[in-house]
């Protein structure tokens, strides 16, 4: 075991927290994190956070030293998505802080609770273009739920308390705390507030009886209702309530990409994903529904295709969302309920009645049977969809799967039937390449006993593959599945379909030997290029007690189907390989 790993595992008991004790800002910060029951901190030291890292040296907190700040924040994000608890990341000022930006925007788009701690130069240097100075609160202003600069050590505990509260309540999101070095070094008696008061911030709202009646009234008369369940179901922990609601009302459930896992993918009422690469049945259901019940879903343009007037043309829209600004933002609603999804469903369940959906469900089943997700197998060639199916079948839909963005991400959404909530960890809104692999590290640390698979493309993996060092250093048994088509697959697909096969700058054939790359980091590497090899290699990988990188060399020309081209409507689906 390495020195760092030993340090990580030896710190098992939290010290007593003495209030009133004179502490530096850095010490106070770490005390706050412990009081917030933070388990892991991901980060990278530097000049402006040296006081914090010095305090960390003797702290109970477990710190994961990534090889890049982007790796740290995606790992913190993966931890947060897999647990619902806030992820915590520390970076130094200037470039350290700006390296967090992609990760912060990723979390903001998907409503993920993060607390990002950045150092800054001492206050007397702020505004002088000092070494490693960056206005990180200004830079992150549009991509955080809120951010702070701590100007006085006496404000530090209150700000940390508020940051965790804001990040995790209401619609979750990232909160950044920028701490100048002089504040980290200053001393003050340590006190931690018992409660938080953020005036004007009303994060939780339980709908009134009248609102619930209105909501149920709108759906009880529907003959062709469909639930569009989004990431809000997962964020509010409402998966079991949604299951009970759908089963009681007999309303089929379409899971948005961010909602996958929030409803069992193999349930008889499950319709999988809608939109650009959604299932035929899901899109037909939306086109023909007389009532669409959006639950924690924001009707984004990968579902409506930006053609909001033609979206679900025959349906009245009912929308529940904790964020009032989402109600009526993208689509006009008949009934809008501003409230927490879980509270709303709990309040609705006793009053909900079974809808007369027998004919509707039969119609949906016929669509599912006529047009399932499918692809053509070719002798001797490994198809990417085949790999994802294999992952699903061998893990029985129980694994945590993280992805990057692109074709492999859509194939995971289509072919891996997630059974449990918080099992798909993927950048939905921002579509961040390089996210999937470090996110898997956070997810695995959060769930050491579950199988964590990081499905990545050969493009995205090369954006953050330096974090292989973390797998070795802390012996994190993530299984990295590279869907290697030697090109930027989704870009290639669009260039084929919409740019007359002009394949501009997608060639990744000059990539490293991924097996050797893994081995260079001390991680087991394997390769498969045929279905038979894939089965054998994957069996060995699952049995291996430690991290593995598997280079699945798949056919390059495979496209993601069905597809609705950007600018078209859901009735203009291209079915592809049928």
């Amino acid at each position: 075991m390495s020195v760092e790993a030993a340090e990580l595992t030896n710190r098992k008991s939290a010290p007593d927290i003495g209030f009133g004790e004179e502490l530096t800002g850095a010490e106070a910060l770490l005390r706050c994190l412990i009081l917030e029951q933070v388990e892991y901190v991901f980060g990278y030291p530097g000049g402006a956070v040296l006081p914090i890292y010095d305090s960390l040296y003797s702290s109970y907190l477990k710190h994961i030293l990534t090889r890049h700040e982007q790796g740290a924040i995606h790992a913190a994000d993966g931890y947060a998505r897999a647990t619902g608890k806030p992820g915590v990341v520390i970076a130094t000022s200037g470039p350290g802080a700006t390296n967090l930006v992609t990760g912060i925007a990723t979390a903001q788009m998907d409503s993920i609770p993060l607390v990002c701690i950045t150092g800054n130069v001492a206050q007397n240097l702020i505004g002088t273009d000092a070494f490693q100075e960056a206005n990180i609160t200004g830079i992150t202003l549009p991509i955080t739920k809120h951010n702070y600069m701590v100007r006085d050590i006496r404000d530090l505990p209150r700000i940390v308390k508020e940051a965790f509260y804001i990040a995790t309540t209401g619609r979750p999101g990232p909160v950044l705390i920028d701490i100048p070095k002089d504040v980290s070094n200053a001393k003050a008696p340590f006190y931690y507030p018992d409660k938080v008061e953020v005036r004007g911030y009303e994060p939780t709202r339980v709908p009134t009886d009248e609102e619930v009646q209105k909501f149920l009234g709108a759906i009880h008369t529907a003959k062709k209702p469909v639930i569009l369940a989004g990431g809000g179901v997962i964020a509010s922990g409402a998966d079991s309530e949604l299951l009970a609601f759908a089963e009681k009302t007999r309303i089929p459930v379409i899971n948005t990409f961010m909602g996958l896992g929030g409803f069992p993918g193999v349930h008889e009422l499950a319709l999988n994903m809608p939109g650009m690469h959604g299932s035929y049945a899901a899109n037909q259901a939306l086109l023909n529904a007389d009532c669409v019940i959006g639950i924690g879903a924001r009707f984004d343009d990968r579902i409506t295709m930006g053609r909001t007037k033609e979206f679900a043309p025959n349906a009245k829209i009912v929308h529940i969302d904790i964020d009032p600004a989402e109600l009526g933002k993208n689509v006009a609603t008949m009934v809008a309920v501003a409230g927490d999804v879980k509270s709303t469903l709990i309040k609705s369940l006793p009053l909900a009645q079974e809808c007369d959906t027998t004919d509707w469900l039969a119609q949906i089943k016929s669509w599912q049977q006529a047009h399932p997700y499918q692809y053509k197998k070719t002798d001797g060639e490994l198809k990417p969809q085949e790999v994802i199916e294999m992952l699903y079948e061998t893990t029985n839909g129980e694994a945590i799967v993280t992805t990057d963005v692109g074709q492999h991400q859509m194939w995971v959404a289509q072919y891996y039937k997630f059974k449990r909530t918080r099992s798909l960890v993927s950048s939905g809104g921002l579509g961040t390449m390089g996210f999937g692999f470090p996110a898997a590290i956070g997810a695995q640390l959060a769930h050491p006993d579950r199988t964590v698979i990081s499905v990545v493309g050969d493009g995205g993996f090369q954006m953050t593959n330096q974090e292989l060092a973390i797998l070795k250093q802390y012996n994190i048994p993530v299984k990295v599945v590279i869907i290697n088509n030697r090109c930027l697959g989704m870009v290639r697909q669009w260039q084929e379909l919409f740019y007359d096969n002009r394949y501009s700058q997608i060639d990744l054939s000059c990539s490293p030997d991924f097996v050797k790359l893994a081995e260079a980091y001390g991680v087991k590497g394997m390769r498969a290029a045929t279905p038979e090899e894939a089965q054998a290699v994957w069996k060995e990988a699952l049995a291996h007690d430690g991290p593995v990188v598997i280079d699945f060399q798949v056919t390059a020309e495979e496209n993601v189907y069905p597809m609705v081209a950007a600018g078209n409507t859901l009735d203009q689906m291209v079915m592809g390989d049928e």
Binding site: T137, G138, L141, P142, K145, H146, M149, I166, V198, R199, G200, Y201, D323, P324, A325, L327, G328, K329
Partner: protein, 166 residues
């Protein structure tokens, strides 16, 4: 395009104006005018923002503003009767000999001449935007050398006529 006036009560802290202004830019809303100053409560400032757009646009703007942690409340003032005022200083090309003539223009507007120079003078006027616009039309022939306007401040009327309150 319909014009709206909204009052935003915010924490009086550094960067709050940037947050509000950034939100307008990020979400594609336009600011016609924005004024910021102290409110009746220490530690809080009130911004008065005038903007254009339809009802859906305004609804989204108010909801997005309400999401900002430093925003305490958002009030749509122009949906009910309100009092608005703007202050303008207008520097006009004019010789002292034209003073009487200009006083004749300025007085009906309850504006005043607050500075006189050899070739220009400064007129101060308060009122709603339309009143200031009207005075500017009259002063235009003299040549407006410099103009500075504060943007509107506004407040809901204490008594709302029954018809308007419906």
């Amino acid at each position: 395009m319909e014009r709206h006036t909204i009052a935003v009560l915010v924490n009086d802290e550094p960067g709050v104006l940037t947050r509000v202004a950034n939100l307008f830019g990020q979400r594609g809303f336009n600011i016609d005018s924005i004024t910021v100053g102290a409110s009746e409560e220490k530690g809080l400032s009130r911004m008065i923002i005038t903007t254009g757009g339809d009802e859906q646009h305004l609804d989204q703007l108010i909801k997005q503003l309400s999401k900002l942690i430093d925003v305490i409340s958002v009030t749509h003032l122009s949906k009910d009767p309100m009092v608005t005022r703007e202050l303008a200083l207008i520097k006009v090309n004019a010789a002292p000999s034209q003073l009487v003539e200009l006083n004749g223009i300025v007085e009906p507007f309850r504006a005043s001449i607050v500075d006189i120079g050899p070739s220009s003078l400064i007129i101060q006027v308060t009122g709603d935007s339309e009143k200031i616009d009207a005075l500017l039309v009259l002063l235009e022939p003299y040549g407006v050398r410099e103009l500075t306007r504060t943007g509107s401040i506004a407040m809901a009327r204490s008594i709302v006529p029954a018809a308007a309150a419906v």
